[in-house]
Structures are given as C-alpha cells and as structure tokens.
Symmetry: C2
Subunit: 387 residues, 2 copies
Amino acid sequence: MAIQQKLSLMIPGPTPVPEKVLQALSKHPIGHRSKEFQELVESTTRNLQWLHQTQNDVLTITGSGTAAMEAGIVNTLSKGDKVICGENGKFGERWVKVAQEFGLEVIKIDSEWGTPLNPEEFKKILDEDKQKEIKGVILTHSETSTGVINDLKTISSYIREHKTALSIIDCVTSLGACNVPVDEWQLDIVASGSQKGYMIPPGLSFITMSKKAWEATESSNLPKFYLNLKSYKKSLLSNSNPYTPAVNLVFALDEALKMMREEGLENIFLRHNRHKLAMSNAIKALDLELFADEKYLSPSVTAVKTGELDAEEFRKTIKNKFDILLAGGQDHLKGNIFRVGHLGYVNDRDIITVISAISNTLLVMGKISAQKAGEALVVASNYLKTN
Amino acid sequence: MAIQQKLSLMIPGPTPVPEKVLQALSKHPIGHRSKEFQELVESTTRNLQWLHQTQNDVLTITGSGTAAMEAGIVNTLSKGDKVICGENGKFGERWVKVAQEFGLEVIKIDSEWGTPLNPEEFKKILDEDKQKEIKGVILTHSETSTGVINDLKTISSYIREHKTALSIIDCVTSLGACNVPVDEWQLDIVASGSQKGYMIPPGLSFITMSKKAWEATESSNLPKFYLNLKSYKKSLLSNSNPYTPAVNLVFALDEALKMMREEGLENIFLRHNRHKLAMSNAIKALDLELFADEKYLSPSVTAVKTGELDAEEFRKTIKNKFDILLAGGQDHLKGNIFRVGHLGYVNDRDIITVISAISNTLLVMGKISAQKAGEALVVASNYLKTN
C-alpha cells in the first residue's frame, strides 16, 4: 500500500527538491529592500550567469516559464513584426499563441509531435528573407510535451547568419540538464523556470538578454508593465527588483545554485545524459516504444507509448502502488503516452526505482516475463555504471 | 548587540509568517496537475471567497500584487478607454503608469501624499460623464506608501451610480486588515498580495472578478497571455491553473487561510484596528507627527514624520540595536518618514515592542524624557487592552 506523503516526483516539473533547499525555503522572509536581500540577488545573479555560461544579464521574474517567454517576446518585438515559430509540441504551440496575441506575423515551421524541427527549414526561410523582415525566431529547445530535443546549436547558427532576427528560446527543460552555452551559441534570449533543472519549487523564472536583445527593447512597442524587462535591468543595478519578488524562493534558489556549482556543470550534464540513456534503453528492453525520435531524446523527460494499454490507468497504478508520480500525455496524447521526468535532483537510484516500478507493473499485468524485467534492469544498470 | 537572524519584520510586507505556515511552505512539492493539488486549489479558492466576502471568482496568480492589478486593467479595458485613476501615493502613481502604458486615457484625481482622495471629486466627474465614456475607476484602498486609507465605501457607491465604469481596486494592504466586503460594496475587481494580510511570503497575488468584470473581458482588446484571466477562470473549473503555479506558496496559503478562518474576520479587523490606534497614539505621545491625516489612518501601516531626524539613520539604529526592520519613505519621502507595518501575523507584543524600541532610541538620543517614553507605553497599552 502506498503512503501518499512519501511521493516521488518523476514528472518534468515540479521536480524533486533537496532537503537543504526546502529548509532554505522555510526560513522567515526578510525585507526585499534590505542589504541582506541585495546580497542574495547579487549572488544568485552571478550563479545564474555561471549556469547559463554567459556574461549577459540574467533576470529573475516571479512567475512561470511562460511569463519569462512572454517577456522575451513583448520586450523586443513590435506589432506586425514577422517571426518564425518552431512548433513540434505543446510548448511550441503556446509560443505561437503568445506571438499571435501580441499581433506578430507568425511563420510556422512545424514537425509532427515526437519528431525534431528540421534546422534546414529555418535556414531556407531565413536565407530567403533578403529584406530582413524576420525579427525573431521563437522555439523550444527541449519539448517537455514529447521528450524531443531540437537541434538548437544548428538552428541558432542559422539565426546568427541572418543577423537581424533575435533568437528567443524556451530552455525550460534543457537548462541545467544539458549544455546550453548562451555566449558560445550567441543566444539572444533564453527563458527557463525554477521547478525544473534548478531543483527548487515553481514560482520563479529566468531570462537572459544579449546586448542585441537589449537594443531591440529600445524600438519594441508592445505594451508591458509587470514584464517590462527594462525595469528589472534598472533594479538589478542595485541588486534589487522592481516589484516584490518571491523572497523565500530566492532563498531556495541561492541554496540550489550553490549545490549545482559544487556538482559542476559537466557532471550535471553527464548525470542527465546517463539517466536519459538508462531510461530510454530500459523502456525499449521492456518492449515499450519511445514516443520521441531516438536521435533527439530530451535529457530531462522520456515519453513512452503504451500501445493498447491506457497510459492514464498505467500512471494511476504506478502512483497507487509505488507513490511514484509520472506525467501523462497532453492534449491528443492523453491516454497514449506517459512521460518520465528525470530532471534536476534525480540520482541513479531514482532511475532504477522507476524502471523497477514500470517493470513490476507490466509483469503483474502479464505483459512481460520476469526475464524481460530483469533484462531491463541490466540494461539500465549498464548505462548507469558507465560513469 | 543584534542577532540579525532574529529579525522582526515590522514593514508593510513581507510580513511575519507563522511557523505553521513556514512548515507548510517547506513540504516537498507535489504535481500541479494531481488530484491532491486540485483539492488544495478548491479549498484555498473557497477560503479566499470567504476572506473577500464574495461569491465572485477569486483567482490566484503567481506574481506580485502589481501583476494582479495589471491583470485587472488589461483584461477588462480596451485601448483608448477613459479611466479615472486616484493618485495620492506611490501605488496610485503606479496604476496611472500601467493605464498609460496600455494606451488608456487617464483622468487623474489626486491628492497630496498623506491626505485621502476626495470622494466628491469622483462623484463630480462620474456624474458629468453623461456619455458613459469612463470605463473604469482605478484606485488604491490603503496607500502603503503614506499610511492613508481612502474612503472606498463612498467612492465605490459613486462608481455604482455611474453604472458603466468598473471599479478596479488595489486592496493589497487593506484586504485581511479591515473590512472589504466585495459583494456588499459591489466591487468589480479587487487585487491583493500574499505577503501582506495573508501572512505568507511574497509570490502569489489574488484578484476577484464580478460578473460585470467578466462581461467586460469579452470586449477588451488589450493583449495579454500570462495574465489572461479567462485562462485562469477556465482552469479553475477543474480546480487547476493555466501555467505551473507556485505550488509551495499554495501549501502556505492553505494553512494561513485556515488560521484566518479560526481567528475570524471580525477578530482580525479588531486586532488590526487596535494596533493602528495603539501605534498612532503612542507616536503622538512621543511628540512625533503622523504623516497621514489622522481621520484616514491605514489599518496596516503607520507613517511617521521624523522632522529634523534623518529617518533612514533612525531606521538603521532600530535595526542594529533591536533587529526590528521598519520601512523607509519612498521617493521624495525618503529620509523624512519611516513606516511601521502592523499587518498580518502581528500580536500586541509586537506593537509594544516596536513602540519600546522607538521610545528607547529617542530616549538615548536625548530627544524625549523617560516620562514621555513611559507615557507612550501607557497610551499604547490602553488601546491594546480595550479588547
């Protein structure tokens, strides 16, 4: 029987939170205009730059990742601007909606859910835009809804060749899970959220702005107030915030970023990579199918087709039996896939555990043999022990 | 010598947080699409309606009070709409800026900082608007920057007589501190923030929407996505959120609202009222001057003129000697006033303590006699013991 209080979060956010971070979260708040809080803003900002591998500004917003993406769009673009939106999942779809809501002219580049965006389609449209009418390229790096990672490195190189268009990138489930070198790839705007690789609860989001992105804010005419990034930049000069920030989440952020620095970027990326490989290969060993193109698997979430099994029932069984929360499919994928999050504060034990729980459930249902279940564990362990 | 970790927050937000609430905050997050979280949304929404004394929808936004006020404005109004903005402090000023940013035509009704808005000026302009061109009246109930409470009851009665204009009210430091009966006063939109009367850390804000306000959303043409309240309303039908909410702050909210229900609205208002009276009368007994008109004192913050004393130095002394954080003056008031917050989780002891700290500091500076210091305590105690 399950003890619901001992829940293990294996969804792509909120992700598990270290005890140290939970303790930081529960400290009594301090004044957000105090010297002590300024010191926190200074230290978290410096560590955020480290995490983003950038010298650009990194701003912290109280709000979800969607708020940060909207901020990126409304601060740098103007009504009627032409933008390319990459769309191969629910989040790609969302950025199209944001762009349209603010009166941008959207050129969609799409790809079936589960498959990656084709960088060459970006190149073609950007190359043909001799008038430099395209002002931005909006896309999602790791598509949380499908478990696909898009080839941001190549696409961003094409955006740079265009010279005018800004890159506005949703790195919500890639940042802190795999390499996103903002300066090296010259990414203009990168948005992310606290409840993902950051290992803290939801409520904060982050946005980097390149020099070129700041220049674009000067001509942007879309209305904004709470999300006006110029106010955030101005406040940051004195390590402050334009509006009252979620002080306790900043305590948590400070602690989590320190833990990340201790582990080191390279180790964090390696850990996520081996979890991705262990997870995806175990899934195949269990005769289940991956939803995403295997050459483009997200480092942070594995989407699994359940075929004739109802994915929602399957998730429910795993939750009731083992207190492990898996994510379901979104929109038309509901019931057809489940998603395993392996993002943030996840260790090898968590991976072996979730694979065992899936195997056990299939075993009890008579879908696989004990032999198969054992093989899946061996496969997973092989990937885990390689590091 | 002060121990900075034992800080007492006597500022108008963030306010002190009960230990129970801090403990709720530090629970491990759960999935925001889970049944368990839906139950929390259902229970907090019901208790928020109780706190607002309304049957209207109350929506929870991850963001500051400014985000909630912006949401009220951008969801119900359209470009070029005429609005009245009441302005007698920093927050009143801010709502003018939001309205202008979104292309509204602002009719300002102002009053010197420290004095209340004159309801008759609202009546006059609303009465003269025979064409019903005024679509909204935006104002701040308790002006946190000055310690003035505006006569919302009378002003809102004039707005109702106009019939077309919506009331869009910043109740950030009045809700949960004094009576704001949303249904009885027929307030259309009321915004508030978690780090105030709610007794939880910053990061959540709240907004009520009347039927008339929802009707106005149908014709509103201002662009919005993260703050599009229709998405929040739609999600609320299944006790959910359109974007990932600050799950842990919702844990805290649930606990704090239960504590508020236990104390009861009437008792909460009485407590704030006696703290206001104890504070303001002790200040006068100490030969200091109140910044706000005494007939319009905010229930949650007392602003004190320091005359020849530098208010910032005074605050610093109180902080260093007693670990009590007071708020300074904002903008042109910086150095001229300090503000004592008595909002949320504040008891009689906190009030006596802050008065003693202020008295002691003045005594040491040679500004008052021991007799005066004693008298101030007696005055305060008299107000406190009346309940």
